[in-house]
């Protein structure tokens, strides 16, 4: 019997999903559904937007208006949707390659522009759909089918990247810390502006196998032992934090949201005022 959560938020007829056994994406998709459920959002007003890759198949399983777009472009599609109807709750489901490689330019500009949307990154450190090529979040020295002698590039920290670009809400979650990650997604949805939750997924099939990370359970347990909640991390020294993954809010500021600001311009023009004069 499917759970109430699945019944209320998933397209049961399209399950089971296509992800490999042990993949973290199903857990993260469930976290998104839980966040929507916990907030009691009007399901008619939720639009889920995804790009291309393993992560982006999530859109098809979720029982909302869903749009599976082109590689890297989920954020600009979401921007158009939000601009067309600012009442909509626009949630972007994307992956590390989708959002920080081919879609990297859109990520930083959406963060800067602060259009209201919530971006959940299923970050598995690899291109899974194409069979295990290194991605912008594959750590230096690790392996992929296109980094057979070890990856030279340094990895992006996607949450920090978005924060650096001006994101008004940036957080990090993972697959193991389900409740914390769900809560971080909820906060992101409630935040008026651009929010991003960079969630460490696990890919035992490609990333795990190429890099001798053990089974899916081993990889999950590693998230348990290496994950530190932000409030604990504050009390830890940089040495203690080395090799740890901080789970929690990296940045949360109130900055004017784009569609609300644009509405002010429109209202000003309607009142015969120019240049947004009060």
């Amino acid at each position: 019997m499917p759970s109430v959560l699945i019944k209320n938020n998933m397209r049961e007829e399209h399950l089971p999903h296509i992800w490999c056994p042990g993949c973290g994406n199903g857990v993260l998709m469930r976290d998104v559904a839980s966040a929507i459920d916990n907030l009691g959002l009007d399901h008619r007003k939720v639009v889920i937007v995804s790009g291309i890759g393993c992560s982006s198949r999530a859109a098809g399983y979720m029982d909302f208006d869903t749009i599976h777009t082109t590689h890297g472009r989920a954020i600009p599609y979401a921007t158009g949707i939000k601009l067309a109807d600012p009442e909509l709750e626009v949630i972007v489901l994307t992956g590390d390659g989708d959002v920080s490689a081919i879609g990297g330019n859109h990520l930083i500009h959406a963060a800067r522009r602060n259009v209201g949307m919530t971006v959940v990154v299923f970050n598995n450190n690899i291109y899974g759909m194409t069979g295990g090529q290194y991605s912008p979040t594959t750590p230096r020295g690790e392996y992929g089918t296109t980094a057979v002698y070890g990856n030279i590039d340094r990895a992006f920290d996607i949450a920090a990247l978005a924060f650096g670009a001006g994101a008004s809400y940036a957080a990090r979650g993972d697959t193991y810390h389900v409740e914390a990650t769900t809560y971080l997604i909820q906060k992101g949805i409630l935040h008026k502006g651009f929010s991003i939750i960079d969630c460490a997924s696990i890919c035992p099939t490609y990333y795990g196998r190429k890099n001798k990370k053990g089974s899916a359970v081993d990889m999950l347990m590693r998230q348990k032992t290496h994950g530190v909640m932000a409030e604990h991390a504050e009390k830890m020294t940089p040495e203690q934090l080395q090799d740890k993954q901080v789970i929690g809010v990296l940045a949360h500021t109130n900055y004017p949201e784009f569609t609300a600001e644009y509405q002010k311009i429109k209202d000003g023009l309607r009142g015969g005022k120019k240049d947004g004069q009060k």
Binding site: V47, T66, T69, I75, I81, A84, D85
Partner: protein
């Protein structure tokens, strides 16, 4: 008719788009299309719409398709290099059947080319730019007034056939200023896409009703909870690997344009009745052709002009019939012979098809065209002797 106003081609494009119901523009600055973005930035918020300057060309078309999926009429505008960048997402709009209008103010290429000299070098790209077999509609204006009228037509065709429509302008018309009398808004025919009558869940949102060509898709955010994907999908909207379903979808996408060519294709004939030398042209080139044809007539040469308004789908039957009753065709275009190939294919060898073109950023003058008509005419007379 209102009073005449002096207007630039790019301005007329924006005014027409607003009249057609455009409420979102997303784009990126590129000359010679930039005035379209600038005018949208001024006019859209006044009309209750939204202008946004995106971070790149790809984001521009992506935001347009997103906005249209959410139910509003949207447009982007670009030139040569930007048109190349937009191609993948034009294909997405074809497959997902989300209406949108893409203005390409052609400039001299390839690559950065000769910014921003005139060209008509993107004609084949407008047909085949995005990968895979796909439908294409492209329309090209020859005057400022026609720019206003045809951008409305682009929106109408896009809404009706749920497909991206390319408005192939060229620098000559985009930067031309003419006195234009704009029609009354009440006199305009505006087409809006069909949507389902209720937002109830529908297991087959992509199912096409009997007697219709396209699915009635609901704007996002109405609660129908359907799925849109760039993967080949069946009537449920969800991906399928079935060859049968793939064939059904891809054939319908092509057929909805091919089988409605009568409705989509428009052209303009000038002095064709008794013409022995016919210039086939489109866009800004038609202005030189018109002068050349008049001059030729004054010299006693029976010249005429066949001006394409719809470029794609190509009016092959019309050209075939033209080839039946004229003596010679001269194709004039600002490229190295793109439409020439289509004209030759359609004429099926019935008449000689000659060519005059330029790819150096310069314009074809009426004198050059006249000389070419004369050469052909007198060569033909010599042949007869």
């Amino acid at each position: 008719m209102g009073k005449a106003v002096l207007m630039q081609g790019n301005e007329a494009c924006v005014e027409g788009a607003l009249a057609a119901g455009m409420r979102l523009f997303a784009g990126y600055p590129i000359t010679p299309s930039t005035e379209i973005a600038e005018n949208c930035a001024v006019r859209l918020p006044l009309a209750g719409g939204t202008f946004i300057q995106m971070e790149d060309e790809i984001a521009g078309i992506a935001a347009v398709i997103g906005a249209s999926a959410a139910g509003i009429k949207a447009m982007t505008a670009t030139s040569g290099p930007g048109f190349s960048l937009k191609q993948e997402n034009i294909g997405y709009a074809c497959l997902t059947e989300i209406p949108c209008v893409v203005v390409d103010v052609q400039r001299s290429g390839p690559s950065t080319g000769l910014p921003t000299s005139p060209s008509q070098g993107d004609v084949m790209q407008a047909r085949w730019g995005t990968h895979g077999d796909h439908p294409a509609i492209a329309v090209s204006p020859s005057s400022v007034k026609e720019t206003y009228e045809l951008i409305i037509r682009c929106f109408n065709l896009s809404e009706k056939y749920r497909t991206p429509v390319i408005f192939l302008m060229d620098e000559m018309i985009a930067h031309l200023r003419e006195a234009v009398e704009l029609p009354d808004m009440d006199s305009l025919e505006i087409e809006d896409r069909l949507t389902p009558l209720t937002a109830e869940k529908n297991p087959f949102p992509y199912l096409v009703k009997e007697g219709e060509w396209v699915p009635r898709l609901m704007p996002l955010g109405m609660g129908q909870h359907y799925h849109i994907t760039g993967l080949i999908h069946d009537d449920t909207g969800f991906p399928t690997n079935s060859h049968e379903e793939a064939d059904k979808l891809c054939r319908r996408l092509l057929d909805k344009i091919q089988k409605n060519k009568e409705d989509i294709i428009t052209y303009d004939g000038y002095l064709l009745e008794d013409a022995e030398e016919v210039v086939v042209c489109y866009g800004g080139t038609a202005r030189a052709a018109l002068s050349a044809v008049d001059e030729a007539r004054m010299e006693g040469i029976k010249a005429g002009m066949f001006r394409l308004i719809t470029i794609w789908p190509f009016p092959e039957e019309q050209i075939f019939r033209l080839a039946d009753k004229t003596g010679r065709i001269l194709v004039a275009e600002h490229n190295d012979g793109q439409i020439l190939l289509e004209v030759r294919r359609s004429a099926q060898g019935k008449v000689p098809v000659d060519f005059i073109g330029k790819i150096n950023g310069d314009v074809i003058t009426p004198e050059e065209l006249l000389t070419k008509i004369e050469e052909e005419h007198y060569a033909k007379c010599a042949d007869k002797k």
